[in-house]
Symmetry: C2
Subunit: 122 residues, 2 copies
């Protein structure tokens, strides 16, 4: 199984090393291996998990809920509850997108208004 140094993991995950350490501390990363010198050794499994974290984070899931999800995953918790979390989040993301669409319409109306003002000159 391929392994990755912290620097490689930073490059591949897009998280900073500080964020990775922070995530490990707060329980979003678990069982991260160490080499004999004490340095972190990341695996493909870890990178896959980091991608999930990035997905959840970048779609606005709070850390507390990510912790819940992480806990269910590491402790072989209920698949049903994991599904529940993901489905609810999917709904939240959909709602977020709808909201953004509505506001963008607003924004574009405003832009059109200013374009009209501009055309009429000062």
């Amino acid at each position: 199984m391929a392994t990755y140094t912290p620097a490689e993991t930073v490059a591949r995950s897009g998280f900073t090393i500080e964020t990775l350490r922070y995530y490990e501390r707060v329980g979003l990363l678990y069982d991260i291996a160490r080499d004999p010198g004490g340095r972190r050794v990341f695996t493909d499994r870890d990178l896959a998990w980091l991608e999930i974290l990035r997905c959840l984070r970048d779609t606005g899931m709070p850390i507390a809920q990510m912790q819940r999800y992480a806990d269910l995953t590491v402790n072989d918790g209920s698949v049903a509850e994991r599904l529940e979390i993901l489905r609810q989040h999917d709904e939240a993301v959909t709602e977020q997108m709808a909201q953004l669409r509505r506001w963008r319409r607003h924004l574009r109306d405003k832009i059109a208004y200013y374009e009209g003002v501009q055309d009429q000159g000062p």
Copy 2:
């Protein structure tokens, strides 16, 4: 012209009174009238402006940029620059929506995977 008490403004704008006071303090609200007792009196113009602020805020514009926009608006600043800000923000919102769409696809793949796992039973 219709006027509104702080409580009415809270109800109509969706901001808390604390947020309204904060926005006034940092320069996002300007020339808010006072009644003889010193209380704020909001007008339709203020409510319209609050809706713009809500649009910008809820689509992720940082306060510093809202301040720039507010400054241009209150001081009759360049319409071209206001347009520039709004257009850039429109692009940012569009990018944000595209990102969300991509992540949602991811999320749904994950959900489908768990549904498969669940069907196979324990």
